[in-house]
Symmetry: C3
Subunit: 316 residues, 3 copies
């Protein structure tokens, strides 16, 4: 990937080490607009379409915020139920994206089915940015989180990441693909039925990623530089909201990040969580230097600014 102009961002499998650094460099150049809270004019003639087939706060709003910081405009839909695109027999991706491409100059897309953004990219003449596809990937989140680590640690090489929780989740896949391009060691810890998909395992094996599986997060905590989390329990929606309190406390200790656990970690170990959380991440951690999960929101805006500027040709 030499140039990002007009490219789709579908999977981190397609990102080489140089591609990541190209994005990080543009992040550095655009970050002041986010930091100084000042919308620029860089993409003032461009329109972003948000095509969210599943509700999202963080990813949709950070995408919109990024486009707005670049001076661009936004249109789109935030839920398939709000559109006829999700109606009928689920209108085909082709029929929908053969239309959406005329409404803007790039499309950020979340879909409940793995592969939908790749399918959309076949039919759209404007860049598709994958904002999460079912059990597939979440590439922009992965880039953003790596950038956050880079800014804090100064490097990505020589680090040790813990990927903790439901490894079937898309953030875990994108991060697993990405780390193979760096000198990063990974400890995976997950409940028995929430392991890495074969496709991901095969990918990291082929690239000789230095990784291991541990039973309990404590086994890996001592020299970890970063903990990457996804919940392992889901709300019990059969109960009324105020009866669900019994749900809390269900996460086994093996996967939980508590203030007590973090006393065993290095002082600059960073905790990432895509939020919202259940009880796997104790709120007591919020008040420690380890809490990076709100900062993720800031870096998500910066990274999306960089990606949009690149695919729309404003930084070539």
């Amino acid at each position: 990937m030499r140039s990002f102009l007009g490219k789709d961002i579908i999977s981190l499998k397609e990102f080489g080490r140089e591609d990541f650094y190209r994005v990080f460099e543009v992040c550095d150049r655009l970050a002041p607009f986010a930091y100084e809270r000042r919308n620029s004019d860089l993409l003032k003639h461009k329109t972003l379409v948000t095509a969210f087939y599943q509700p999202s706060t963080r990813t949709r709003l950070s995408s919109e915020a990024a486009m707005i910081r670049l001076g661009g405009a936004v249109t789109g839909f935030s839920d398939a139920k709000m559109t006829r695109a999700g109606d009928f027999y689920q209108e085909s991706i082709r029929d929908t994206f053969g239309m959406l491409e005329f409404y803007g100059d790039a499309i950020v897309m979340r879909h409940f089915e793995q592969g939908a953004p790749a399918e959309a990219a076949r039919w759209s003449s404007v860049p598709i940015l994958n904002a999460g596809d079912g059990w597939g990937e979440h590439p922009m989140q992965g880039i953003s989180d790596l950038y956050t680590v880079l800014k804090h640690k100064g490097t990505l090489d020589g680090l040790h990441f813990i990927l903790d929780g439901d490894l079937r989740m898309r953030t875990m896949h994108s991060m697993s693909y990405a780390v193979t391009e760096f000198d990063i060691t990974v400890s995976y810890v997950h409940p028995p039925d929430m392991g890495l998909p074969d496709e991901v395992k095969q990918y990291i094996d082929e690239r000789n990623l230095n990784y291991r599986f541990v039973e309990h997060i404590e086994e890996a905590i001592a020299d970890a530089d970063m903990i990457y989390m996804e919940p392992v329990v889901q709300p019990d929606y059969t109960k009324a909201r105020d009866e669900r309190s019994g749900d809390v406390g269900r996460t086994p200790d093996n996967y939980k990040v508590t203030r007590e656990l973090m006393r065993k970690a290095k002082s600059d170990c960073m905790v990432f969580h895509s939020l919202p959380r259940m009880d796997e991440l104790e709120t007591a951690v919020d008040k420690t230097r380890h809490a990076w999960y709100w900062s993720e929101a800031y870096y998500a805006v910066v990274t999306k600014m960089a990606l949009m500027a690149l695919v729309l040709g404003a930084m070539e």
Copy 2:
């Protein structure tokens, strides 16, 4: 209709031949912004309000995209359930539009009841653009589709249109009203219980439109210049989504457009469909020169740019 400044766009009954050509001329002037994917500054001081009482992807997004291409801003609602305007005993149109007029400078409105935009126009001091009202009309779609035909054929006069499917649908009414202003011949083909409403039939009779009804689309296909389609079957919502496959194939051959049928058509016969589709329009047609239904999305943006520029006085 001499000037469009401040005018409502409610029904194509109000459009004379010269009005259509005035809009088409402005379309030609504004099309480069859409084609070159570059938002202009023409309406940078203006705000569009989208008041959609029914979900819509194509019409809402093309309206927003058009305003954005003109440099304007957009606010509004995309579903009545999302607002208190659809709450209570359905708040009166007067109470709602006596408010909405202060939030922007033109209002694009879709409503589930025929006549609602006309009622809104009584109470709003800013232009109301009808984006579909129940079983009423869909005037902007009609203008857009005529413009598409004009650009491809070079003329609207001397053409033969087939209006195929559920003729109770609003697109069929607006198109029927519009063609009376041109030297256009129409073949209507529809299932027994989906005929033209009396109001429409009387209108075209009074204007001496050259039309006929046929039983099977094959009867009219040979010299047709354009086929205008609406589905004749609806999804069976009593079935779960993945059990609905039996629904497909229910459209009688009389109303179906297939690749085989199109072999009998003229080589430049254009197929229009407002989408989404059921099985009345075979996907095999997508790969032929007859498939104009995705281009409709592009022309919808251009036409709405022209209409907004006109009613907001940017092109006077």
Copy 3:
């Protein structure tokens, strides 16, 4: 409150007389943009986030319209169901606003729980503007309505307000707090189970507000300068929409504003209603000089423009 820069707008308890006049002065300066329907460039580098946990037409759209008139951009969500912020066990305000603050430069927030905006303000580094919090307050509405009265009467001192209807509603609280800063007399009239909360009553008692309770609005109508209304009945949602007609007519005469009642009022008595209405406000009043409830929508835009310009430092 000397400067509004960076301040939250949570409660009118925090507004002194000088603060109100400071806002009114900025309203006067910005009103031409709203009146002349022309978006300015004043906040062209700024982004507003709308965080609406409850549907709203008037308040959300007037907030967006105000930001747009100032040249700013808007992102956000219009219903908690549309976001993951309302999902799970209701994600904590801290987790949500620790994120939202990065997506824009000020946040307009409506929430179903009293106190939520104050909680959000603890965690957000950007100003929070309360757009209604459960049974709490609706401060921007209160400021807007006082500004409307000021523009029409030329003064706020020496006036007599009737606060009529369900006094548990948030608009009633904000207005009650506000009037204590002026030489305003209040007549409250309310159904037995819809009285002023203790907190509000104590506040106006401590400030020695000149007020009384009346049983019937007729007792106070003769010298009233303004009537401030909230519905006292709610739709019977157990009935189908078209069976609810029996609901109309349920508001007791004590709280109803009719054309007949207004004949007993001063000729410049202003009727305010936040709409939508049930049957407590007769539509026959719409055609009288007393009907100010649509104008409220205009003044709401102007007031929100002033507040945003102030908290974002564009008018310092």
